[in-house]
Symmetry: C2
Subunit: 671 residues, 2 copies
C-alpha cells in the first residue's frame, strides 16, 4: 500500500464514527422510553444480567484463546523472516479486530436488553410505537457492527498500510465470530429445548411462564444467538470482504490506489445509506411491520447502488462501469438469495404447505419432507452465486469477485438492524407473558415476533450467501498471498484437500448437533431438579433459580465449542504444513469446505425454517390445528430443525470463513 | 492399443466364461433342492412373476432410453470428425454394455426368486442347509456380474482395441445401473412403506401377512432393489475400474501393453479367487452364518492379493511392487470402509446404542442423533480414501489410482454373492410367514436375515467406496481424453463447476426422496382401496390383487426416475458445451459431485443403517422394548432412514459414476 493512501483511508474511521454517533442517538431515544412496571423491570433485569453473565464468562474463556492465537502469530512471524514473511505486528491488528467485534457484541446485547422491555411497554400504546423501539434496538447493533468495523479497520490501515497485517484484523473478527456463533448457537438451543421439553411437555405450563427455571436462559439465548452471534458473523463477513477488496485492489496493475480505496468508500457510503434507510422504517405510520422493514431495506439498497455508481465511475474512470456491475451483481445476489429463502420457508408458498401436508401421515413423512425441501432449496442459491461469480469475474476479474462481496455487504448496517429486531420483539413477548400484562400487548408483540421469524430466515440466507462470497474473495487473496500459480484438481494432493475440506462441514455439524444434545440434557436435568426440590415453585409461590440455568447453558456452550473450534484452526494449518499436502492441498481443502459448507448451511437453515413455519401453519388451524396428530408431527420436525437452523447451519458460515482467513494470515508458513 | 494385445485380451472372455459356467453349476445345484409345499410354490411364483413383471416393464422403458443414447452417440460421432473424434462404433460397445448388465440382472433376479423358496424349504432341515441355498443364489448373481462383465468387455476389447470405443461399454453399464439403482430404489421403498403403513399400522396385521395386498410387491422389491439394483451398481464400478485401468495403462510411457493388460488379469484372477472363496462358505458345518461368510470373503481376498502380487511383479518387473502396493491399498481401503460402516451401523457399538438411548426422549432426539451419527461417520471413510489415493499415486501415479480401484473391486464376485444372499434370506422369511410354516423355520430364516442386514450395510459402504475410487479413476481418464492440462480452482469457471457439481447430489437426493414419497402414497391408496373393496379380504377368505400393487410400484418407479436420470446425463453435457464454462468447468463439476456425492451417500447409508439397528436393538428388549415410547420413536427414525439408505444414498453412487462416464465418452465434443 503506497503512502498516497493515507488521505483516502481516513474515510473509514470517519464513517465508522458517524455510525457510532447515530447509534448513540438511537440509544438515547430508546432510554427515553419508559420501561414499564416494576415486575417488567425485574424480569428485564434478569435477562440483562443473564446476557451479561454469558458475555463475561465468554470473555474469560476468550482471553486464553486470544492469547494463544497472539503467541502463534508472533512466533510464526519471528520464524518466517525475509520476504513475504509474517509480520509480528499482525498480532496487533488481530487484537484490535477481536476488541472491535467484542465491542459491537457488547453494545448490541446491552441495548437489545434495554430495548426488549421498552418494546413491551410501548406495545401497550400501539404496534407502531413498539416497532419503533424494537427496530431502534436492532439498528444500534447494525450501526455498532459497521461503525466499529470501519473504525478499527481504518485505524489499522492508516497505521500499518500493509494488507498482510490488516488481514490480522479479519482473523480477530473471525475468532470472536467463532465464539459468538458456535457458542451462542449451542447456548440458545440448549436453553430453548430445555425450557420447552420440561416446561411445556412435562410440566404442562405455557411458553415463557415465569415458573419455568429455564425461561430467563431461553430469553437470554435469543440475545446471545440472534443478536451477538449473528452480529459477529456479519461483522466478520463485512470486514473480510472489505479486506479482500483492499488486497486484490492493491494488486491491480493500474490505478491500484483507487482500486484499493473503493471498497472502503463503498462501505462508508453504505453506512450513510443504512442511516437514511432506518428513517423509512419508522415513518410508516399505520403500515404493517413487514412492509415498513422492507421499505427501509429497499431505500438503503437503492441509495447504496446509486452511491456505488458515483464512486466507482469517478475513482476508476476506465473500468468503473464494470466494477459497478460486479458490485451490483453481488448486491442483487444477496437480495435474490433472501427471496429464495423466503420461498422455501414462508408458509404462503408450496414447500412449507407440503411439509404441513406430510405431517398428516406422521413424524417420519414430516421429517423426510423437511429434509428433502432443505436439499432442494440448495439448487437456486447455487445458481445465483455461480452467475454472480461468473459475471463479476467477467466484468472485473478477481477484484470483481471481491467487489461483489463488498456490494452484497454494503447494506450490512440495515441487514443487521432488521435481523436483530427479531429477538428483541421475541423477548418483548416473553416479558409481556411473564409480567402478566393484558393479552392485547402479547398480541402486538406476537405479530412483531412473527415478522421477526421471516426476517430471521431471510437474514440467515443473506449471512450464508455473504459468507460464501467473502470466503471466495479471501480465497483469492490467499492464493495471491501464498504465491500459488494454480490449484489443480488433477493433482492427488489437491483431491485429498478437496475431500477433507468437503468432509469438515459434515463433521462440524455433527459435533455442534451433538453438543446441543448434551447441553440440552444438562439443562433438562437442572429444570427437573428445580421442579423437584424447590417447594411451591409450581404454585407460583417460590421463585426458581434462573441464574443457575443461565450458568449451565453458558458453561455447556463454551465447553462444547472447544473441539469444533480447534478443528477450524488446526486442520487448515496441518494440511498446509504436512509434506505431501502443502499449500495447494490447503487450497483444495478451502474450496471443498466452501462448497459443501455452503450447501449444508443452506440445507439446514431452510429445512429448519420450513419446519418451524409448517408447525405454525398447522397451529393456524390447518390439518386439525393445535393438538392434532399432524401438529404433534410438526412439533417433532420443528425440534429437529432447531439445531439445524440456529446452531449447526449458521456455524458453518464461520467455519468456511475462519479456515480461509487462517490460511490467508498464515500463508507465509506454507511457502 | 497395439495389436500385441490380442493374445492377452483373450484372458478376459475366458475368465468370464469360467465364471458363467460356475454360475450354471450353482443354478443346477439350487434347482435340485425341493421347493416345498404347494402353498410355498404358489407364493414363490407370485414373487417371481412380480419380479419379471418389473423387469419387462423396465425393459420397455429402457429401449427408448438406450435408443436415444445410441442416436446421440452416433450423431456426436458423425459431428466430431478427425483426430480425437468420437467413433460411431462406440454405440456398439454401448449396446453390448447394456446387454451384459441387463443379462446379469436377469439371471440374478431369476435365480434369486428360485433360491428364496428353496431356502425356506431347506430351513425346515436346518440352518446350514438354508445358508447353503441362499448363498448359492447370491453367488449366481456375483458370478453373473463378473462373468458377463469380463466376457462383454473382453469381446469389445478384442474387436475394437480402442479405449475410446471401449468406454462405451462402461456407459452402457452405467445406463442400466441408473435404472436398476434409482428405479429399483424407488420401487422397493414405495412397496415397503406402503405395505408397512397400511398393513402393520392401519390394519394391524403382521409383516409379510398374505392378506396384505402389497406383500408380494414388498418381497419383489427386495429383489429389485437389493439384487438387481445393487448388482448393476457394482457391475458398473467393476467394468468402470477395469476400463480406467486399461486407458491409463496404455497411456504409460514404458511397457504400456502389459500395464493395460494387468487390470484384466487381476480381474480374471479375482474370479478364480471368488470361486474358491465360495467353497469356504459352504464347508462351515455348524458355524454361524456370519463367520462362514466372513471366512469366504477373507479367503477370496487373500487369494486375490497373492495372485495380484504374482501378476504385477511378472508383468511389470520394474514397477511391479509399486503397482502391487497400489492395488492392495485399494483392496484394504474397501475392507476398512466396510469395517467403519459396521462400527456406525451395528448395535454392539456405541453410535447405534446412543441413537437407541436418544429414542427415550422422543422422535426428535432420535432423528437428531441419527443424522449427526450419519454426518460423523463420513470422517473416517474420507481419511481412508484420501490415504489410499495419496499412497496409490505416490507408488504408481494416476495408473496407481486406477489399480487401487481395480484392487478394491477384484473380489466383486464374492462381495455381490454375500450382498445378494441378504434379500434371498429376507424373501425366504416372508415365504415361511405367508405359507404358515412352523415357527422354527421362521426363526432360522430370521437369523439368516439378521446377518443379511449387517452384510447389506457393509456392502453399501463397499459400493460407495468403490464408486468413489472408480469415478476418480474415470475422472483421470476423462482429463486425458479431453486433453486437459490442469483444472485450476483459482479459475472462476472451475469454481462454478465445483459449486454446481457439489449441489447436484443434494438435488438428486431431494428428487429421489420426494419420488419415494409420491410412489408410496400411490401404493397406500391402492392397498386401502383393496381393503375397502375386496369382500372377505381381512378374514382371509379372498385373495388380494397382488399384481396391481406390483404394477403401481413399477409404474411409479419408472415414471419418477425420468427427471433425476435426465439430470445426470444432461447437466454434464450442458456444462461441457456452454461457452464460458467448458471442459475444465466440467472437470470441476465432476470433482464437486464426487466429493459431495460421496459424503452424502455415506451419511445417508450409515444414518439409515444405524436407525434400522437402533430400532432392532430396542426391539431386543432395551428401553422398554416393543410397544414402548422409545420404540415408537425408533420406528419413526427407521422410516426416515428407509429412503436414505435404500434409495437416495445408493442412487448417488450411480450419479457420480454416470456423470463421469458421460463426460469421458463425450469428451471429444468439448474440445
Amino acid at each position: 500500500m503506497p503512502e498516497s493512501f493515507s488521505g483516502g483511508l481516513y474515510v473509514a474511521p470517519i464513517a465508522g464514527i458517524i455510525a457510532l454517533i447515530f447509534a448513540g442517538y438511537l440509544v438515547a431515544r430508546i432510554k427515553r422510553v419508559d420501561p414499564g412496571t416494576e415486575k417488567m423491570k425485574e424480569i428485564a433485569e434478569a435477562i440483562h444480567e443473564g446476557a451479561m453473565a454469558f458475555l463475561f464468562r465468554e470473555y474469560r474463556t476468550l482471553i486464553y484463546f486470544i492469547l494463544a492465537m497472539t503467541i502463534v502469530i508472533v512466533v510464526a512471524g519471528v520464524m518466517t523472516q525475509g520476504a513475504g514473511s509474517m509480520k509480528p505486528a499482525t498480532a496487533i491488528a488481530y487484537l484490535v479486530g477481536t476488541i472491535c467485534s467484542l465491542g459491537a457484541g457488547f453494545i448490541g446485547m446491552n441495548v437489545a436488553t434495554l430495548a426488549n422491555v421498552r418494546t413491551t411497554n410501548a406495545a401497550r400504546q400501539g404496534a407502531n410505537q413498539a416497532l419503533g423501539v424494537a427496530f431502534s434496538g436492532g439498528a444500534v447493533m447494525g450501526m455498532s457492527v459497521v461503525g466499529l468495523g470501519l473504525l478499527g479497520l481504518g485505524i489499522i490501515s492508516i497505521i500499518f498500510k500493509d494488507p498482510a497485517i490488516i488481514n490480522g484484523f479479519a482473523l480477530g473478527a473471525s475468532s470472536i465470530a467463532l465464539f459468538g456463533r458456535v457458542g451462542g448457537g449451542i447456548y440458545t438451543k440448549a436453553a430453548d429445548v430445555g425450557a420447552d421439553l420440561v416446561g411445556k411437555v412435562e410440566a404442562g405450563i405455557p411458553e415463557d411462564d415465569p415458573r419455568n427455571p429455564a425461561v430467563i436462559a431461553d430469553n437470554v439465548g435469543d440475545n446471545v444467538g440472534d443478536v451477538a452471534g449473528m452480529g459477529a458473523d456479519l461483522f466478520e463477513s463485512y470486514v473480510g470482504s472489505i479486506i479482500a477488496g483492499i488486497a486484490l485492489g492493491s494488486a491491480m496493475s493500474s490505478n491500484s490506489v483507487n482500486a484499493a480505496l473503493l471498497p472502503i468508500y463503498i462501505a462508508a457510503a453504505g453506512v450513510i445509506a443504512a442511516i437514511i434507510g432506518t428513517f423509512f422504517v419508522r415513518t410508516n405510520e399505520g403500515a404493517r411491520a413487514q412492509s415498513a422493514l422492507n421499505t427501509g431495506t429497499l431505500v438503503a439498497s437503492i441509495l447504496a447502488i446509486a452511491f456505488t455508481y458515483f464512486l466507482s465511475t469517478s475513482l476508476l474512470p476506465d473500468i468503473g462501469l464494470n466494477v459497478f456491475g460486479a458490485t451490483v451483481a453481488g448486491l442483487l445476489a444477496g437480495v435474490l438469495i433472501g427471496k429464495i429463502t423466503e420461498y422455501y420457508t414462508a408458509d404462503r408458498f408450496n414447500p412449507v404447505k407440503e411439509i404441513a401436508k406430510a405431517s398428516q401421515t406422521g413424524t417420519a413423512t414430516n421429517i423426510i419432507a423437511g429434509i428433502s425441501t432443505g436439499m432442494m432449496s440448495t439448487a437456486l442459491p447455487i445458481v445465483v452465486i455461480v452467475v454472480a461469480i461468473l459475471l463479476a469475474y467477467k466484468l472485473a476479474g478477481l477484484y470483481g469477485i471481491a467487489l461483489a462481496a463488498v456490494g452484497m455487504l454494503s447494506t450490512t448496517g440495515m441487514v443487521v438492524a432488521v435481523d436483530a429486531y427479531g429477538p428483541i420483539a421475541d423477548n418483548a413477548g416473553g416479558i409481556a407473558e411473564m409480567s402478566g400484562l393484558e393479552p392485547g400487548v402479547r398480541k402486538i408483540t406476537d405479530a412483531l415476533d412473527a415478522v421477526g421469524n421471516t426476517t430471521a430466515a431471510i437474514g440467515k440466507g443473506f449471512a450464508i450467501g455473504s459468507a460464501a462470497l467473502t470466503a471466495l474473495a479471501l480465497f483469492s487473496a490467499y492464493t495471491k498471498a501464498a504465491d500459488i500459480q494454480a490449484i489443480d484438481i488433477t493433482q492427488p494432493n489437491v483431491v485429498a484437500g478437496l475431500f477433507i475440506g468437503g468432509m469438515l462441514p459434515f463433521l462440524f455439524s455433527a459435533l455442534t448437533m451433538q453438543a446441543v444434545g448434551r447441553a440440552a440434557f444438562d439443562m433438562i436435568e437442572e429444570v427437573r431438579r428445580q421442579f423437584r426440590s424447590i417447594p411451591g415453585l409450581m404454585e407460583g409461590k417460590a421463585r426458581p433459580d434462573y441464574a443457575n440455568c443461565v450458568r449451565i447453558s453458558t458453561g455447556a456452550a463454551l465447553r462444547e465449542m472447544i473441539i469444533p473450534g480447534l478443528l477450524a484452526v488446526v486442520v487448515p494449518l496441518a494440511v498446509g504444513l504436512i509434506p505431501g499436502l502443502g499449500k495447494e492441498a490447503l487450497g483444495g481443502l478451502l474450496a471443498g469446505a466452501l462448497v459443501s459448507g455452503f450447501l449444508l448451511a443452506v440445507m439446514m437453515a431452510n429445512a429448519g425454517g420450513a419446519w418451524d413455519n409448517a408447525k405454525k401453519y398447522i397451529e393456524g388451524g390447518q390439518y386439525g390445528g393445535k393438538g392434532s396428530e399432524a401438529h404433534a408431527a410438526a412439533v417433532n420436525g420443528d425440534t429437529v430443525g432447531d439445531p439445524f437452523k440456529d446452531t449447526s447451519g449458521p456455524s458453518l458460515n464461520i467455519l468456511i470463513k475462519l479456515m480461509t482467513i487462517v490460511s490467508l494470515v498464515f500463508a507465509p508458513l506454507f511457502m
